[in-house]
Structures are given as C-alpha cells and as structure tokens.
Amino acid sequence: MSSWVQILLDFIWASSGLALVAFSLGLILGELRIVNIAQGDLMMVGAYSMYAMRGLPFLIALPLTFVVGFVLGLVLERGVLRWVYDKGFMTTLLATWGVGIILQQGVATVFTVSQKGIDPPLKGLIEIGDVVYPEYRIAAAAGIIALLTILLLVLYRTALGLRLRASIDNVEMAAVLGISPQRMFAMVFALATALAVLAGALIAPTIAINPTLGLSFLAPAFFAVLISKPGSLGGPVLGAVAVEFTFTLLQAYLNITVAESILFGLLAIFIVLKPQGITWSWITAREEAS
C-alpha cells in the first residue's frame, strides 16, 4: 500500500515536469514545424539560472529565470532560427542541435562541468499514511499543473489563443486574416523557451545540476509529442502522462536501464503503428506550401 502512494506521488511529480517540457516542444513543432533539439539544454539553462541566483529568494529567482528564458528565446528565434525556416527540416534540426551545443559549452565555460546543487525553498516533508514525501515536489507539481491549465485556457478560450491555433493550422490563411507569421513565430518560440527554462528551474532543486542534464529529458518529451496528434497543443501533455505512466509501471518491476530500453522500444513500435501521429509529411508540408 505505502509503496503505491510513493509511486503515485513520484508519477505525478515526474509527469508534471515532463508535461511542461513536452507542451513547449509541441508548441514549437506545431507553429514553427521545427523539432527543437535544444529543448533539454534550455532546461539546463533554467537550472543554472536558479543556481546563479541562489542568493535570491526562490520566488524572485523563478520569475527572473522565466524572463531570462523569454529573452533567450527571442534572441535565438530572431538571431538564428528565422534564417533557416525555409532551408528545410534537416537544417532547422542541425541549427537547434548547434544551439544546444553552444548552450552546453557556454554553461560549462562559465560554471565548469562540476556538479552543482541548489536547496529547495521548501524543505519540509509531508506524511501521507506511512509515506513521507518532499513538500517541494508537491508544491512544484501543483504549480506546473496550474500553469498548464492557464496556458491551455489561454490557447482555447482567448482571441490570442485562437490566432495562434489558426496560425498553426494554416499559416498562409492566417496571414490573409491579418495574423503575422513572423510575430507569431517569435512569440511562440520565446514562450516555449521560457517554459522549458522554467521547467528546468523547477526541477533544479531535485537533481544534480550539470551541463548535459537536458539530454535525459529530451527523448521522453519528444516521444510525448510524437504520440499526440499533429499540431495538438493539449496532446503532448497527455502524451507526457502516458509516457511517464508506462515508465512508472515498468520501473516498479524492472531496474531503470531495462525499464528505459523497454519504454523507448514500446514508443517506437507505437509510433510506427499509429497512422494519425505526427508524420514526416506533416512536418514538411509547410515547406512545400511556402
């Protein structure tokens, strides 16, 4: 009994973090038709940003880190990505890969490669039955769930969200209806970057911080996006829950390496068998149109 409460809490914690990253990855893929390989490295930037601001109160460092992420996103979109949109899918993939490497190297240069850590702002433990669980994880998971709810409400209930979904659906016709693709692309990339950075910031107190930490988050987030419908914005969130649920189940019975291998094997099979998932032709369709 107690072990199941523990597993459930771990599952909620892990899937909320993954959901935020998958949501941001899905947003970029949907609007810009780019797979952002650097998404995990952006999380890493968020963790280091919190480390750099460890002298400040957590609730002040967190929004500052979000702002850092937003500005970084704007700089990357205006400075790098917009030059490669019409150069084909492979070029954009390489461009974001390069951005990831630069971020890793940059951080390693400034902070060295030695592991860092930060204290959680809440150090207490919550007792549920005979399970004790860190307060911070429960608070952070609740915060992420609230944030995702607000984001989805904005996307599906406001004029701004309507414009964004239209632009994801058909960027040319959105332009005919007065919606600037350039502005949408910049805004979406900046927001998605800020969200990935924020996810890294929230996870930071629970992990060992090093320049390559993003790697382990990228693959599951990518799978969470791939198993959802193309262009869907809520889909990656559900995808993240599904990926983490499967992983949690496997991990309950197997050691972590075996569990991970089986998980990625299962996901690969699922993606091959699932015809309405994101396909190559969907990603590249816009290149032909423009």
Partner: protein
C-alpha cells in the same frame, strides 16, 4: 480607384509565371479571370495578395502602393482571398473560423454570414475539417465576407462542387456584390457561371492577358470561347 495592378510579373522563387498584367477595379466592380488550366490564374491571384513572389510591377489600394509578399498589408486595407483549396482552418470549429475573420474585420458592416449560409449556423461547433467540400467552400466564402472586405478574391469557386451548392454560392456572391459595393475577382473553370456573377472578363494564356472586356460583349464573341476550350 479601389484596386490597381500595373505591369505585374509574378511567380515562385526564380520561376516567372505571369507577366505584363495590368487592370483596375472600382468599388462594386466584378471581374472574372478565365483561362485554361495552367495558364497562370492562381499564380496571378497569389501574386496580387502577396502569397507568391512579385518580380515587377505594383499593386495599389486607394492609390497607395503595397509591399510584395505581405498578405497582412492587404488585409488591413480590406482585401481578402479564398484560395483554390478553400484554406479553412481544419482543426478550428466553424464558429472559430468566422470569429477570426470578425477579429480581423476591415469594415464595420459585414453581412450576416450565418443568414447567408444557414447550413453553417447548424454546424457552428463542428471542426471545419470534417465539413463536406461544399460546406467548406461556404465557410471559406463566409469567412472572407465576415472580414467586411472591400475586395474579395476567389480562386475556383465551383471546382468539385455539386450544381445545387454552386448555385447557392453564386447567389450569395451576386447578392453581396450587388448590395454593398464589394468588388470581386473570381476565377472559375465555368465561364458561363463566372460571367453571370461578374460584369467584366479577363482571359489569360501562358501567363499573359490575351482578351478583356465586358461579360456581355465577350460572351457574344465566338472567338472568346475558343480561348477557353482545351485543345
């Protein structure tokens, strides 16, 4: 002068498809653009609205020249476009498609598009991608009209649609252009239909305009139909 195109050359990337195209439209003018398949009608429309490349010439609204490849600049001046694939936002509902147009409206008084197309009113909450071809074309036209435009540009109104649906669409266009001073550029494979809706005609061949005049005049000239017959 509402809309003027002079000496337009356009195409895609480095490929020049249309050239030497000039015409002018006043409020309420209706122009049918005819020609066989592959003659450059779609390319001309897309060049005009900024979705294809303009290599030479100018487009002006109210005498004000417009930048190339900028559909938003035309939208802001009340020029809107219905592409040959209808271009509905497939994942958005019918109501959301219309709402977007209302958010982007140029004029104050858009026609009541749900009254014009009652079918759409019944399907307001349906994703546009699940509509039939005819319904999607109704939605595309309705969405364009909901922007309260001054100039509506339609590529292939009747293509692939049943005669009864085409008749409804034609009646709607005749009604709105007749009442409101809305100008229209219409491309259609059916010259009789296009000339019933439009007062003026332009015929394209291999990227250039080879005949133009009033629908009444050209419609009674046998050589005119020769230009349109697939040989």
């Amino acid at each position: 002068m509402l809309f003027a195109a002079h000496d337009i050359a356009g195409g895609y990337g480095a490929i020049h498809i249309v050239r030497n195209i000039s015409f002018e439209l006043d409020a309420g003018d209706t122009l049918a653009l005819l020609g066989r398949n592959g003659m450059g009608k779609t390319t001309l429309l897309r060049t005009l609205v900024g979705l294809a490349d303009r290599f030479a010439g100018g487009v002006a609204v109210d005498g004000k020249p417009l930048p190339p490849r900028n559909p938003r600049a035309l939208a802001r001046l009340g020029v809107t476009f219905v592409p040959d694939d209808r271009g509905v936002f497939a994942r958005l509902t019918v109501a959301e498609n219309i709402r977007l147009a209302q958010l982007a409206a140029y004029g104050e008084t858009a026609p009541d598009v749900y009254a014009l197309f009652p079918d759409l009113k019944r399907r307001m909450l349906q994703p546009a991608g699940t509509l039939s071809g005819g319904q999607q074309q109704q939605l595309a036209i309705a969405r364009a009209l909901a922007t309260a435009p001054r100039l509506l540009i339609v590529d292939e109104l009747s293509q692939g649609l049943q005669p009864s649906v085409v008749e409804d669409l034609a009646r709607a266009l005749i009604e709105v252009t007749g009442q409101s001073g809305l100008a229209l550029i219409l491309v259609d494979q059916n010259p009789k239909l296009a000339m019933r809706i439009c007062d003026k005609v332009m015929v394209m061949q291999r990227g250039e305009v080879v005949a133009s005049g009033s629908s009444a005049m050209l419609g009674s000239d046998p050589r005119f139909f020769d230009l349109l017959i697939v040989s």
